[in-house]
Amino acid sequence: MTEKFISIEGITKRFPAPGGGATTVFEDLWLAMRRGEFTCIIGHSGCGKTTVLNVLAGLDVPSEGTVIVDGQAIEGPSIDRAVIFQSHALLPWRSVMGNVVYAVASKWPRWARTDQEEQAQKFIDLVGLTGAEHKRPAELSGGMKQRVGIARALSIEPKIMLMDEPFSALDALTRGTLQDEVRRICMETGQTAFMITHDVDEAIYLADRIVMMSNGPGALFAEIVENPLPKDRKRTDFHKHPLYYGVRNHIIDFLITRSKNFAEEVASRGFDRRQVPVVRPLAPEPVIAADAGRELTSSASRPGLSRPTAAAASPGS
């Protein structure tokens, strides 16, 4: 890692268990992110993804460990780290403009009201809500509400954007257009972004790196998948890229089989939590038709993976 803009250093989260003792949600997580990088985190429900994001946002405090952003340890929430909430979290008694201005006025309280509104307008236009400034959230569709949430987060020109499954409550079409917008905005502004998702395609489309988390309790960052797809990928054709299925299969394979007993998988070969293995799935090698059947039955191989321990990871055949 050349530059650590965000560095998660050994964070652990424990909750008191009902019958005494403590439940460890995740333990000793280490991760570094570069400036301008888009990181997605993917894993099953209950592995503590949201807690990791809340720790990054400063809304939650880890039981152990710390997070360093731009050379400084996080101490509570900061206006430099904008959060886009899953439930959009708009203030229903304020208009679209009112919601965005509220954020702008929090960042620059001394600005004149007209300047604040101008700044808000800029970002309302950016997310394509021009003309809806005076509507209340209740009058907006789910997609439009989430756009307001994005405009509010961007309007304060944060150093980092943290997104907690921002599109999970939306229909597929709206989700697609909003993914395009977020990607465009992040590319244009060089935004550092951290996003939780359940959607593998969303992760592949948006992220530079995809962090895969094993199941809780005692979840850990299992692998980091470097996205091999070109930076200028388009939503319309990125799934036709020769490397697409390599990445997708690798992630899905992890989510379906490996995430459950990842602890056992690594027990045999040792696992350095500080150096989470980085994987860069490659194109599937051409398979000769005659060998194809034998190839498939011999082992649950993941063709084209450069991961050295692929064989050790295969579920018992």
Partner: protein
């Protein structure tokens, strides 16, 4: 019949009203001379005994009395004969003063209880004990300590309107959605600005509902309090007319109390609608 529901409801309301008035009118109708007797003796006995006239006034009597009062609501002919408008104004003023004091006291305390789990638990036993006390039970204590009947009735209004407002404010403040507070936290909003821009608007509908309950209770209690304290006010007017055995005036006052109570409730309902936000 293709009238709207509102129109049909109005028709039914009017029908019920007319039926009630007719029944009332018929029930209080005199039955004619009941016995032949000496006119001097008849005068002593009164119309009820001689003409079979009901002691209860009929709707026409009450209507005429009401008309009389409405024509001259603000006359003042000494301590025992004031216009009904003056009496109502006294009552409204007492309710207004006691109620405003209660607002000024209950809402900040409610905020404190809602925001601090510690204070919520610490104050809970006091509230639980004080809340069910009939406000009139405070009256002797108030008279003894304040030594002023007018102020004592204001105090009684204060003490009865405090609880619903305080409890509703505490509930509304404690129930502010976590995500809105998280928005404020991530934007580094200070505590004072958070209280006024997030918690107050979010809790306002619940607070206003408490205020609406309180004004209703205050208007119930003022009548009883003024009966006890005497001197002025619509409650005193009712009791005074009872002593005068003017049932017509008592019924008129009952009607006016109901109308004013409805108006007070409507004002608060309108205010509640103003601060309610759709989600």
């Amino acid at each position: 019949m293709n009238l709207s529901v509102g129109m049909r409801a109005a028709v039914v309301s009017v029908a019920i009203f007319v039926a009630f008035m007719l029944a009332w009118h018929v029930a209080t109708q005199g039955s004619g001379p009941v016995a032949q007797m000496d006119p001097e003796y008849a005068k002593l006995l009164g119309l009820t005994a001689t003409q079979g006239k009901s002691a209860m006034p009929g709707p026409l009597d009450v209507g005429m009395k009401l008309w009389e009062h409405l024509q001259q609501p603000f006359y003042d002919k000494g301590p025992n004969d004031k216009g009904v408008g003056i009496q109502l104004a006294y009552s409204i003023a007492r309710v207004g003063l006691g109620y405003l004091l209660a607002v000024a006291f209950a809402i900040p305390i409610g905020f404190l209880i809602g925001m601090s789990p510690l204070m919520s638990r610490a104050l809970d036993p006091f509230i639980q004990v004080l809340k069910p006390i009939s406000p009139l039970a405070w009256m002797p204590l108030a008279l003894y300590t304040i030594k002023d009947s007018h102020l004592s009735s204001i105090f009684v209004i204060f003490i009865c309107s405090v609880w619903p407002m305080m409890i509703n404010t505490a509930f509304g403040v404690a129930a502010v959605r976590k995500e809105w507070l998280n928005v404020a936290r991530t934007l580094e909003v200070g505590p004072l600005r958070r209280a006024f821009t997030i918690i107050l608007p979010a809790a306002a509908p619940t607070i206003l509902t408490g205020m609406r309950i309180s004004i209703g209770i205050a208007w119930l209690v003022i009548v009883a309090a003024e009966m006890l304290v005497g001197g002025t006010g619509i409650g005193y007017f009712v009791w005074n007319e009872w002593n005068n055995l003017s049932i017509t005036n008592v019924i008129t006052a009952i009607l006016l109390i109901g109308l004013v109570g409805m108006l007070l409730d409507q004002v608060l309902a309108r205010l509640t609608r103003l601060v309610t936000f759709p989600e």
